[in-house]
Symmetry: C2
Subunit: 156 residues, 2 copies
C-alpha cells in the first residue's frame, strides 16, 4: 500500500513547478541524443520565459548539435527527490546577440550573461509534457502538462 | 581571466568523487537514448560497487530497453554545481533475485530493496570516463577517469 501522506494535489504541484522553474540562478539538466543514438547530458543555466525553457550554449556544443538534428530534449529541474521533468522540442535557435528581449529575459533569471560570447546561441525549448514528483507516492498524478497544455484539476 | 580560487586538484576531486558515489541513499541521473535517438532521463537510486554504477529498474522501463539496445548511458551524480559526470557502458543485466552478492551490495547503499520486485533487473554500468567539476573554473582538469582508468597526478 502506498503511503499518500504529503502527496500534493495538481494545483499545488503546478504552483511548486512554476516556482521552481522561475527560481533565480537555477540549472537544468539537458538530455539529448546524437543522430547515432549516443546519449548526452549536461547541466546548464535555465531561464523560463513565456512557458519556454531557454538555455544558452555554444553552437559547437554536443547539446546544440544534437538538438539541431533531432529537435528533442528531456529536461530535469530540481533535486532527484523533488523533480520537474520536461519533454521538450526545439522551437527556435537564435544568436545570443540577435534578440534583445530574449537576452534581457535570460539574464533576468540566469546568473551569467552570454550575450557577448561569440558562437553562443539561445535554444528555445517548447515543453510538450511536464511531470513533477518528490517520492514514489507522487508518481500517480505526476503529469501536469500534456501535448503542450497545462492540465486543470478537472482533467484526469 | 578565470578565477581559480578554490579549484580542487585531481587528488582532491577523485577523493570527493568517490565519497559522492558511495554516499548512502544517493540518486543518479541516467540519460539514455532509444534506437530512434529519442533522449530519456530519469533519477534512480545508485549503488557504487567495485567501480561500477549499479541501478535497479523495471525490465520494461525505457531506461532498461534503451540500455539493452544501445548499451550506452551518461550518468550524473550530485547537484548541478558539484557534479560527477560518467560515460558508461552496460556490462551486465541480472535479475534482482539472481545475484545474492550484488543484491546485498546494492541494498547496503540504496534506501530501498528491489530484490522481491518481479520484473526488476540490476543494470551494471562500467564507467569509461568520469569527470567532476563545481563551477566553470573547474572545467580544466575535470577528467578523472579515461578509457576506464583512473588518472594519477602525473598524467595530463
Amino acid at each position: 500500500m502506498v503511503d499518500d501522506t504529503g502527496v500534493r494535489d495538481r494545483e499545488t504541484r503546478t504552483a511548486d513547478t512554476l516556482a521552481m522553474l522561475t527560481t533565480q540562478a537555477i540549472d537544468v539538466w539537458v538530455a539529448t541524443a546524437s543522430a547515432e543514438g549516443a546519449p548526452y547530458l549536461v547541466p546548464v543555466s535555465l531561464a523560463w520565459v513565456d512557458d519556454r525553457a531557454v538555455i544558452a550554449v555554444a553552437k559547437s556544443s554536443l547539446t546544440a548539435t544534437n538538438l539541431m538534428t533531432s529537435r528533442e530534449a528531456r529536461l530535469a529541474v530540481g533535486p532527484t527527490r523533488d523533480v520537474v521533468m520536461i519533454d521538450a522540442v526545439l522551437e527556435d535557435a537564435v544568436d545570443v546577440a540577435a534578440d534583445e528581449a530574449l537576452g534581457a529575459a535570460y539574464i533576468a533569471q540566469a546568473d551569467w550573461d552570454p550575450r557577448h560570447d561569440t558562437g553562443y546561441v539561445f535554444l528555445v525549448l517548447r515543453p510538450e509534457r511536464i511531470q513533477a514528483w518528490r517520492e514514489a507516492n507522487e508518481i500517480p498524478g505526476r503529469t501536469l502538462m500534456r501535448d503542450g497544455d497545462w492540465l486543470t484539476e478537472m482533467e484526469a
